[in-house]
């Protein structure tokens, strides 16, 4: 096994949380992870909404809740780094854990993905400041986002099972890698929480530097 292989394997493992067993201080979770984690499922869930550059060399997986103030705080910086960098692939994981309305918001956003409007709905919901946003207010924002509400309603009904399944999958994935709260960002092999633009920039550069070393 040469050095390159080791690093590649390391990079792969790290995204899946096994990094924690080697380097617990970095990710700050208990080092005994007694479960198998399928990192490919986290990075490449075919139903997960994505943004940024689909062929980007760094993937950011964002675990977010629509009533999470820190998610809202870091959202503009995340958008900005994805946009300015140009080579970041962003995977959205709706992870509604804070309030009941969070689930509702996640359902609306995932349902909008079926008409290609996830981004619009996601930003509409993240754009409501505050942490106790009611379902009604979320719905208001979604309506104002220009999404086709008739289609959205149809998808919420017809694809209810698929939507719930995706959200459950996200919950299970977050559990499997020991995420504790929102927001959680997986940036290449690293895991982090709220960052500002400079923080995102640095962690993306670090992730990229490691890949360049291969």
């Amino acid at each position: 096994m040469n050095r390159r292989t080791v690093i590649t394997r390391f990079a792969r493992l790290s995204a899946s949380g096994i990094l924690a067993t080697i380097c617990p201080a970095l990710v700050g979770i208990p080092s005994a992870l007694g479960q198998e984690v399928d990192s490919d499922a986290i990075l490449n869930d075919p139903e997960a909404p994505t943004a940024g550059n689909p062929k980007g060399d760094v993937t950011i997986v964002a675990f977010l809740d629509y009533n999470c103030p820190f998610c809202k705080k870091s959202a503009p910086d995340l958008d900005r780094i994805v946009k300015t960098d140009g080579k970041i692939r962003l995977v959205y994981k709706d992870w509604p854990i804070l309030t009941e309305a969070s689930v509702y918001g996640a359902q609306l956003a995932v349902a909008a993905h079926y008409q290609g409007q996830y981004d619009a709905v996601h930003h509409a919901l993240m754009g409501i400041p505050g942490m106790r946003i009611s379902k009604e207010r979320m719905l208001e924002a979604v309506k104002a986002s220009g999404v086709d509400m008739v289609r959205l309603q149809a998808d919420l009904g017809a694809r209810a099972d698929a939507i719930t399944a995706l959200l459950r999958r996200n919950l299970a994935q977050a559990d499997s890698i020991g995420l504790q709260g929102t927001p959680a960002y997986l940036v290449g092999p690293f895991r982090t929480s709220t960052l500002d633009y400079a923080g995102f920039k640095q962690i993306v550069a670090d992730a990229r530097a490691k890949q360049a070393a291969q």
Binding site: I133, E140, K143, L171, T182, T192
Partner: protein, 583 residues
Amino acid sequence: MHRPFLAAFASLVLCLMALAGVASAATSRPADEVFRLGVERAADRSLVLTWTALPGHYLYRESLKAQWPDGTPLPLVTQAGERKDDPNFGLTEIYHGQTQARIRASGAPATGTIIVSYQGCAEQGLCYPPIVKSLDLATGALAKAQPISVLERSPAAAAPASLLSGSLALTLASFLGFGLLLSLTPCIFPMIPILSGMLAQAGEHLSARRGLALSGVYVLAMALAYAALGVAAALSGRNLQTVLQTPLALGLMSVVFAALALSMFGLFDLQLPRSWSTRLTGGNPGRGGSLGGAAMLGFTAALIVGPCVTPPLAAALIYVAQTGDMARGAAALFALGLGMGLPLVLFGTFGARILPRSGPWLVKAKQGFGFVFIGLAIWMLARVLPADVTLALWGLLAIAGGVWFGAYALIRDHLRLLPRLMAVALALYGLVLVGAAATGRQDPLRLATLLDGAGAMEPAPTAGVRVVSTTAAFDAALAEARAVNRPILVDFTADWCTVCKEIDRSVMRAPAIRARLDTITIIRADLTVYGSEGQALMDRFGVVGPPTLLFIDAGSGREVDEARTTGATTVDAFSAMLAKAGA
């Protein structure tokens, strides 16, 4: 060669690199390590819960909850927290370090199991999901309760039903009807001289058909103006009513009406710029007013009259803003405008034949409108002026009107007795009002019922009504109300909200309703001072503005489904809501 060694070495190097790279990134410790809960019985048998948060972490005051396993809440007395106001968080109260909450002995039996939940965040930028513990009251033992997955609690099926509220046809029909009702208010009066002035230009050749065409176009244009308002409402969303009801806006509208009144008294002529009128009428003088002119007049008239119909219009706009759907909002307001204009079309079509050309009647009618306009100005100012000042203004207006028309009648000796008597009566009424203002009465409408002695309306309930304006006060009131176990009415209201006052007057004090209000608990959320606290209260229930009436089930602590009223309501409609809430 030396594979294991190489791998381990590489890992170490990468670890160090990674650490350097994300030194600023938050690391997350399990919520249970961050927030610790301890329980003990105090000497007075009350249950004391103590939370300790690690440095750099905090709990939300409003997240501290205790309940029975079936969901019935236990009143929890919490301590005041630090206020945190952040654009991303809104105004909240938080606890750093240690805090305590108490369940009174009466609420905490010696045995049984209760559920305690709490939620907090790390300053570094991480929010934990709610932590749920079961607490054995006998032993004080805490166990991790199976956290009810948030996802379990709201199945996807719950989402679709409320997405689109009501069918479009139904909405349009209701708005048309609403408009017809509005056309019965004095607000539509100013339209009549404007329209008749336009029709009068047609001279003697005005046919019913031409009248229909002109008034039809006029009304369509008016409806379009309202549709534009609807779009604005849908775009601007929730705060439109607040803007319409600010002292500045009300003052401006009053000035517009006062100016209109002065014009009606002949101080100046209110007319379109000459270049406009020539263009409007010049093209085809023989046929009396062009359709384009009618359209323009209709559009402007709607904007002039708009302020007068503000309260009902605001109710309609709230509805539209709530749906946030531009096309729907525009269509609904268009229907409203059509409804308001239909009587005008009738007037334009059939009234044209019998319409007297011009003459003294028009002067008198104009003066009459002048008084109506001043009345409207006072009516609007009433929302920002002290009540006794308003009452005095009403009195002065009545006296002025009485004297004006009385004197007018005296000059013309051929006038019969009746108008003079009415004028004298009006002046007398004015004197009574001024007298009443002097002795401290406040409301001209209520004064009327006092005068006739019947008092068909009961006094508003005041005992047992909790008025709150902060979320903390609301929580306290709600906890108390739930302990009483009667249906809870939450009444979002404000002093500047005229519709609220009308509901209070015509619905809440109706005998049929009044009696039932005694069987429920009322929490009045006062939004008079509009600020972040009021906004937080509104946000909690997704309320867009007052008046909003909603019910909370004392048992579950949840809002009663489909028992919410936004905007104006009637005795019957509110009665149905009361029934849904179990009152």
